[in-house]
């Protein structure tokens, strides 16, 4: 547990998450004017919608730091633990947003929560394709592409541009939820794969056929 916590840089991730949550409450309403293909008018996007990217980038940095041989041969279910970090972040945010929204303190809270779960889901979905190293680029790109192409004339936000939609837009929230569910499914497949790899013995090498892998085959000393 300690090793896992350290290799994943979870102290840094936790601090980043808390800081971004607090910043989302304090300065989340600050406007960032982003360019748009709709014209020269800049699309005003509030910081609360961008701040979830900070812990997500750090989370994937932590995963990337240590994934590889060590994880593949670990006794404990690393993928399940990594998934639990994301789940904890989502639940903590949902609880915070629930309380602050009910009290009327944080209007943009639902937007922060939506972008957190949507971006986490998106990163999980692309991770098997890009590797954990570049998974966090997908949500960053999603925000930029949404700002660039996701608005029409008159500030209309297109249906697919969920990261820049109004903080209380229902459709955008459903889309983010969908991404989270998909991302969760992709990650759970990963959990299943590592468990099978761990529990099953490796397939025996076939008789009379040389291995294609130079590393596993008999080593010739002359070559060295």
């Amino acid at each position: 547990m300690i090793w896992w916590w350290r290799t994943r840089a979870l102290t840094a991730v936790s601090i980043a998450f808390l800081a971004s949550l607090v910043a989302g409450m304090v300065v989340g309403g600050e406007v960032l004017p982003l360019p748009s293909m709709a014209g020269s008018l800049l699309v005003p996007v509030v910081f609360a919608l961008l701040l979830p990217l900070v812990p997500i980038i750090l989370l994937w940095y932590g995963v990337d730091r240590s994934s590889g041989d060590l994880d593949a041969t670990a006794v404990r279910a690393m993928a399940a633990r990594d998934l639990s970090v994301a789940a904890t972040m989502m639940l903590a945010t949902a609880a915070t947003v629930g309380v602050t929204s009910a009290a009327g303190w944080w209007d943009l809270g639902p937007g922060y929560l939506r972008n957190l779960i949507g971006c986490l889901g998106l990163a999980q979905i692309v991770a098997p394709l890009t590797g954990s190293r570049f998974a966090a680029i997908a949500p960053v790109a999603a925000v930029i592409i949404s700002a660039l192409f996701g608005t029409g004339n008159g500030g209309l936000v297109r249906w697919w541009a969920w990261p820049i939609a109004d903080a209380r837009a229902h459709l955008a929230f459903i889309e983010a939820l969908l991404l989270m569910v998909l991302g969760g499914a992709v990650a759970l497949c990963g959990v299943g794969r590592t468990r099978r790899r761990r529990l099953l013995p490796p397939p025996p090498p076939r008789e009379g056929k040389r291995s294609h892998s130079g590393h596993l085959g008999p080593v010739s000393h002359e070559k060295l």
């Binding site: 982003l34 360019p35 020269s40 990217l53 980038i57 190293r133 966090a136 680029i137």
Partner: protein, 421 residues
């Protein structure tokens, strides 16, 4: 060309075409918003496309920096100096950025089709410096941070730094990131040298600071940080007196020609000189008939001279636009101090006076429908039925409340008719 890494594994190979497509799309979307017929304004509008080019270049450079980091370039004894290594690594990225900026300038050039002169070289130089600054910072991040951090941070960081200052005050911060020229320039403006210098210094601060610090020794890191800090302070000091606009009064002379009135125009407006002069001559003659005093010189360069009237004109104006600009300049546009303290009865007078003067200058009533409210047109039409002396009396009676809150407007023309009052 033989390179250390194959072109297949360079990010630029894949990023260039999408970047150019985005730049051309964005350019087509914003080209109509630049001041038409003015090369400097068209080049300034290309500024908006830095949003696309610069963050992409920063991310590509971070990728290259990450490869050097993974290659443990720090631990090798390398013949070249560290800044040379960095510059060689990011050279293809800078070429990609150069292409992007060239595409941006080309995409907004149609706004100034047919205008004299060339795109503003100072603006383009500043764009290139901003590009280089962000690219080198991206490379530095790639060298110093894990790729999982360096790539998203360089992409998002560059993007946010280009976007955010436009939304905050004090205004001088807006002139550091290089995005402030986008709204520049009307035809009598050019980019403020101060804004250009501040942006350039900031970009150089970023680039030089990182290049020095890349040497890796403790002394060089401190040197890089000190260079960065000093240049940032200098850049901020240069930008400090600036307001929200990056435009400054245009230097250079207007060419004056003609008589009644003498007409002074910028080179971009020369093509329309005969149209502008004909419109002004006709308006002048009609206004002088009514008895309106007008200066002998009409100029498009804003100068504080009493014997000239400054008019705002497009490069290729319509006849109606010329007369309306003259009218807008001839009726004083001042807000008296008393208006900030209490009621200003003459607040609406200027609109009525302008409509009257436009009609007096020969603009048909039907041409005013989209620029003036119907009640003003109706009122001014009734004033026009008075004699010239009565119209002038009405004008002066309603001019006074523009400057003095204690004078009541007398907009009803019946008070000026013979036998009235």
């Amino acid at each position: 060309m033989r390179t250390l890494y194959s072109w297949r594994t360079r990010a630029e190979t894949y990023a260039t075409v999408p970047m150019l497509a985005l730049v051309l799309l964005q350019g087509a979307a914003v080209v109509d918003t630049a001041t038409p017929g003015y090369r400097t304004a068209a080049t300034a509008k290309a500024d908006l496309m830095l949003f696309i080019v610069v963050p992409l270049c920063a991310a590509c450079a971070a990728w290259e920096g990450a490869r050097h980091r993974i290659g443990r370039i720090d631990t090798l004894t390398i013949a070249r100096r560290s800044w040379q290594v960095a510059l060689i690594a990011v050279a293809p990225t800078l070429v990609m950025g150069l292409l992007g900026i060239a595409a941006a300038v080309a995409a907004t050039a149609p706004a100034a089709a047919g205008a004299p002169g060339l795109p503003d070289p100072w603006l383009i130089a500043v764009y290139l410096l901003v590009l280089a600054g962000h690219t080198i910072v991206g490379y530095g991040l790639g060298r110093w941070l894990s790729p999982a951090l360096a790539l998203p941070i360089s992409l998002a960081g560059s993007y946010v730094w280009l976007a955010y200052p436009a939304a905050i005050e004090p205004f001088w911060i807006r002139h550091l990131n290089g995005l402030s020229f986008e709204g520049c320039c009307a035809i009598d403006q050019s980019p403020s040298p101060r804004a250009l210098l501040a942006t350039a210094l900031f970009a150089v601060a970023l680039g030089a600071g990182v290049l020095i610090a890349l040497a890796g020794t403790r002394r060089m890191r401190a040197g890089g940080a000190a260079t960065l800090a000093v240049l940032l302070v200098v850049a901020a000091t240069v930008a400090l007196p600036l307001g929200p606009s990056a435009g400054a009064p245009r230097t250079g002379a207007v060419r004056c020609d003609g008589s009644r009135p003498v007409l002074c125009l910028w080179p971009e407006q020369e093509g329309s000189r005969s149209l502008i002069h004909a419109a002004l001559t006709s308006a002048y003659a009609r206004l002088v008939d009514v008895g309106m005093p007008l200066p002998a010189v009409v100029t498009t360069k804003d100068a504080e001279t009493p014997d000239a009237i400054f008019v705002v004109l497009a490069a290729r104006p319509q006849r109606r636009g010329v007369v309306l600009s003259l009218v807008a300049s001839a009726v004083p546009d001042t807000v008296p101090d008393c208006a900030t303290r209490g009621e200003w009865p003459g607040a609406n007078n200027r609109g009525a006076l302008m409509v009257w003067m436009a009609l007096a200058a020969g603009v048909p009533t039907s041409d005013l429908g989209d620029v003036a409210p119907p009640e003003f047109i109706d009122l001014a039409s009734r004033v026009r039925q008075l004699t010239n002396e009565q119209q002038l009396a009405w004008y002066h009676a309603n001019l006074a409340p523009l400057k003095d809150c204690s004078v009541q407007p007398q907009l009803d023309p019946s008070a000026f008719q013979d036998g009235a009052g």
